[in-house]
Subunit: 151 residues, 2 copies
């Protein structure tokens, strides 16, 4: 990753649909080197994928909730079981095993409070080994950045 590569991933983070030609123009190069650099960045895994970013509210997902989950038992088998179960739920879009005041942080999307309650009562809380669940409801999305702070 040299300076040119960093410029390329910066531009692609901002707009995944930017053309090779446009990147080339901005960096004062021709399409060939840009094309090959992009392919290399993809091949070597610096660029994992390209995605369309949807507006969750427009598609009807009014609620975004973070849950701090604490388990009872922490042996590997129990963790693996929980992780496998939680992945099945489409409402759960992110799940992290964390070191801190609780065990897992999960991000959930729901259409409304009723659906969230249904998820909580009938899905999450129904899993074995759950000790405590603490919900934080998102009121405002202050920042949701496109850019990783590329060192």
């Amino acid at each position: 990753m040299d300076k040119i590569d960093r410029s390329i991933v910066y531009l692609l983070q901002k707009d995944g649909k930017i053309t090779i030609k446009e990147i080339a123009e901005r960096l004062n190069l021709t399409t060939t080197p840009i094309f090959e650099r992009v392919k290399k960045l993809e091949r070597e895994g610096y660029i994992k994928s390209y995605k369309a970013i949807l507006d969750r509210k427009k598609i009807g997902l009014q609620l975004m909730v973070f849950c701090n989950v604490t388990l009872n038992l922490h042996q590997t088998d129990y963790l693996k079981k929980f992780e496998k179960d939680i992945q099945q739920f489409p409402e759960v879009v992110e799940c992290y095993h964390v070191a801190g005041m609780f065990d897992y942080l999960i991000k959930i999307y729901a259409e409304d409070m009723e659906r969230y309650q249904d998820f909580l009562s009938n899905k999450l809380a129904s899993l074995e080994n759950i000790s405590k669940v603490q919900s934080s409801f998102v009121m405002t999305e202050v920042k949701d950045s496109t850019y990783l702070p590329i060192p």
Copy 2:
């Protein structure tokens, strides 16, 4: 948003680089209606943007941390001040104002613990009005889904 539109955004969430032609083939339509539907979804804001997804570890960001931030004063002016300040930090990739046990949840990327400590001590904790900061370090990314649970 009819059935076809939902199929389109589903495919675009999975792969933002999928061609109009390929979507058309999968949905047994020609390129024209797909092209127009995609443009409409973009124009009306269902699709907000397209982005390249980078591998944070490959680009040197070993640490991912969530912080629960609690403020002292909660009048609008103080909240706005904090929100404005926190947005400046490139390390902070997400920030949400939440209702729950604390005020703000922020997601941070850092190269290593040293850089994180520097961020915490010299940037975050230096802001006025901070009452409490609780860090949770991500050990495992159990799930990081491409797909919103489209209703």
